[in-house]
């Protein structure tokens, strides 16, 4: 039973499959609580003897902390406890360490160096919020102000100050291998040389604050069973629980987290900053402690959607086909990683947008600057690059003098096309969206464009992973804060033609892991994705991809008009005498119809040891 069928079976009594819901309001499950004012947001839990916590925050973008003097604050009326970095049991974390991604780099409370304005250096717990505020103002911190950097490209210069000592290049290091995310598909230089126009553009997006009406906060209190309850505004309850357990060096079984009623989140409530501090306050005082950001904090230190800068270069044929596209992207992560490393992986998987372009390359950098750390916000990683792509497509249309909707239909991806991240496109609908948009807006398109369909014209030669040019620019160990070009292909120390994939390892295209992930043959036109990168059908020394050699047009730029559903690509039986590609794994895999679906050796219910999963998330720390 596939998971979809299982879901239908389990929730059969809740709704039928006839989801004709668009265009009419639906009564929400939680609406009664909302209209009666009884929905239990975290701040709606009352406790006797509630204490209030506030943070002392850095006024500087970048400064070394010489000393922190809290003696005056401790004597202020109502002050119960001053919390410093030394009170945090395990004061170093990175959010995604719970899935073993990235190095611990951010302190809950800073004691050596602040890297953004608003970074907490101490916290005060007092009887009232006003007393906590007054005591915060009485804490004396001696800063040695350091030079700061606020622009991601300035941050990549060799003389830029180091924002975050864990990453001395000011870039997030991916898998200790590269200082950026690299995407290589085909040969962009060849695409540019065949193009009639080169269209370049630079696009930039400012940070955006999520600005939920309910500010971030949490209330923690000791329970009677040696546990701590935490009511929180979090959007990621188990992430917050795991992060709190790690920072406080406490088994997660001692934490009782209650959430789920969120007064607006939009991504800004996943960073798990308020929960560890409020639980720490409850641990240190033995009393209920509320840590709630006020509006000014929400706007200043609430992690926003990060700033992005994009440079796009397109090689375009006279008829509007985009033959090659390169991206250089800079994500401003702020002072610490939070979720920016992941945003870059998302956007690299998204490149080059919903278009089939035969040659694509991108370098995307996750750059540290002395700005507020950035995090999730509604489609983060995708929104900025999509904005840049669509602006750029309009620019391309203007350059070649084509209707921008027709240009999009001409270059749109179709079901069965290979995307540059080596997954086949399915359920594509850009063409249909463009057709509806032209109707609704009264923006006429040609009869030919109106006849196109995402269901036909894809696949075939467009499903092939081309030979791809790679380079080793940005390899960790080589690029140590050197002023090297960041564009894909520029300044490459070594260039070579290697088989498809990265690091010479052939990529298995979209191996189905579960029944309902298997491609629907009726929709895709063939039973399985080409299981491996196709071996080059000509000798690898010939510097032209085989498909391009057969016809003058690049593979995926074949005119869609008149094409019917593409026939299934026949796997080319490798000739024993033909030269093999660099990684000769293809013959066995190509004759194998499909890899066996992954099945765990024993059911998960019996506690499978999953490598790479944090002990703070699993039950292994339960005593």
């Amino acid at each position: 039973m596939s998971s979809v069928e299982f879901r239908k079976d389990l929730f059969a009594d809740e709704r039928d499959d006839n989801l004709q819901e668009i265009g009419k309001p639906t009564r929400r499950q939680d609406i009664l609580g909302h209209v009666t004012g009884r929905s239990p947001y975290y701040d709606d839990h009352l406790f006797d003897g509630l204490l209030h916590m506030r943070c002392v925050r850095s006024p500087h973008h970048h400064a070394r902390i010489r000393s922190i003097d809290t003696s005056q604050a401790e004597r202020m009326p109502g002050v119960v406890r001053v919390v410093l970095a030394r009170d945090v049991p395990n004061n170093l974390n990175t959010l995604l360490s719970l899935i073993n991604f990235g190095k611990d780099e951010e302190k809950l409370i800073q004691d050596t160096k602040v890297a953004y304005a608003g970074e907490p250096v101490a916290a005060i717990i007092a009887e009232t919020e006003g007393q906590a505020r007054e005591a915060c103002a009485a804490v004396r911190v001696d800063y040695e102000v350091l030079p700061h950097v606020l622009d991601p490209e300035a941050s990549l210069k060799p003389d830029a100050p180091v924002v975050n000592e864990v990453y001395p290049n000011n870039t997030f290091d991916y898998h200790d291998l590269y200082d950026h995310q690299k995407l290589r598909f085909g040969d962009v230089e060849k695409g540019f040389s065949e193009a009639d126009h080169i269209v370049e553009g630079e696009y930039q997006m400012s940070p955006i604050e999520q600005a939920p009406i309910e500010t971030c906060g949490a209330i923690a209190a000791p329970e009677t069973n040696d546990r701590f309850v935490c009511y929180t505004s979090t959007q990621a309850l188990f992430f917050s629980l795991g992060t709190t357990a790690k920072l406080l060096n406490m088994p997660s079984s001692r934490l009782h987290f209650v959430g789920g009623t969120v007064g607006g989140g939009f991504g800004g409530k996943v960073d798990s900053i308020v929960e560890p501090l409020s639980v720490l306050g409850a641990v240190l005082t033995g009393r209920p402690v509320k840590f709630m950001w006020d509006r000014a904090e929400e706007m200043q230190v609430g992690a926003p959607r990060g700033a992005e800068r994009w440079r796009i270069k397109d090689g375009v044929a006279r008829d509007g086909r985009i033959l090659a596209r390169t991206f250089t992207g800079f994500f401003d992560a702020g002072a610490y990683t939070r979720l920016s490393s992941y945003a870059i992986i998302k956007c690299t998987g998204h490149i080059p947008g919903p278009y089939s372009i035969p040659n694509v390359a991108s370098n995307v950098y996750c750059v540290f600057t002395n700005r507020t750390p950035a995090t999730a916000m509604r489609g983060f990683g995708i929104t900025g690059v999509d904005f840049a792509i669509e602006c750029h497509v309009d620019k391309v249309a203007e350059t070649v003098g084509l209707n921008p909707i027709e240009l999009r239909i001409l270059n749109a991806y179709r079901d069965g096309d290979m995307k540059p991240h080596r997954r086949l496109a399915k359920n594509t609908a850009l063409i249909e969206c463009c057709q509806v948009a032209s109707q609704k807006s009264g923006w006429a398109i040609s009869a030919d464009a109106a006849r196109q369909s995402s269901l036909t014209g894809g696949g075939g030669t467009r499903a092939v992973i081309p030979e791809s040019i790679t380079d080793s620019v940005g390899r960790i160990g080589e690029r140590r804060r050197a002023d090297v070009p960041t564009e894909p292909g520029a300044g490459a120390p070594s260039r070579g033609r290697v088989a498809a994939g990265t690091q010479g390892i052939p990529i298995v295209a979209a191996a189905p892991q579960d029944e309902d992930m298997i491609t629907d043959p009726a929709r895709m036109g063939f039973r399985h994705a080409p299981a491996v990168s196709q071996p080059p059908r000509t000798a690898p020394s010939v510097p032209v991809p085989p498909v391009a050699a057969a016809s003058a047009a690049p593979p995926s730029a074949a005119p869609p008009a008149g094409q019917q559903s593409a026939p299934p690509p026949q796997p080319v039986a490798p000739q024993p005498s033909a030269p093999q590609p660099a990684a000769p794994q293809a013959p066995t895999a190509a004759s194998d119809p499909a890899p066996a679906p992954y099945k765990p050796e024993q059911p998960f219910s019996r506690g499978v040891k999953r490598p790479g999963v944090s002990r703070f998330l699993s039950g292994s720390r339960r005593r």
């Binding site: 009419k24 309001p25 639906t26 009564r27 929400r28 939680d30 609406i31 009664l32 609580g33 909302h34 209209v35 009666t36 004012g37 009884r38 929905s39 947001y41 701040d43 709606d44 009352l46 009232t128 006003g130 600005a211 939920p212 009406i213 309910e214 500010t215 009623t261 969120v262 007064g263 607006g264 989140g265 939009f266 006020d294 509006r295």
Partner: protein, 160 residues
Amino acid sequence: MTKKPVQFQLNGSPVAVFADEGQNLLDLLRRGVGDLSPKYGCGQGTCGSCTVIIDGEPRLSCLTLAETAEGQHVETTNGLSNGPDLHALQEAFMENFAAQCGYCTPGMLMAAKALLDRTPRPSREEIVEAISGNICRCTGYEPIIDAILAASGQPTRRTG
């Protein structure tokens, strides 16, 4: 810290509490009285989620000194329904998908009720004006306007 007794009518019932010096009405209602329906959003009078009705006028409780409620009639969303019987505005908000996260809803309801108490059949422009001090960040203004139209027995975008 000096405390001052304050007596007022809350949703038709008499209330007597001690207010701290400088305490705002929002805090007094939530912590002192235990009426949690007005919400803290900004504390600066910009978001409207703390809106209550004082003597028939919509007021921002975060900017209202608690002592000034002395002898006045305060209405909150908590008192909008009559037991299990919901107010027409509440029904309309439910049916027109006029809330997502729900955090701005109590303030919106109070702003809308103050309008309908004065103007039983407001125009669309009057509704927009009446809720212009209330921010909804889940972007639900059109359904909210529809809900207020529906509550006053007028056609909405959907029904009209």
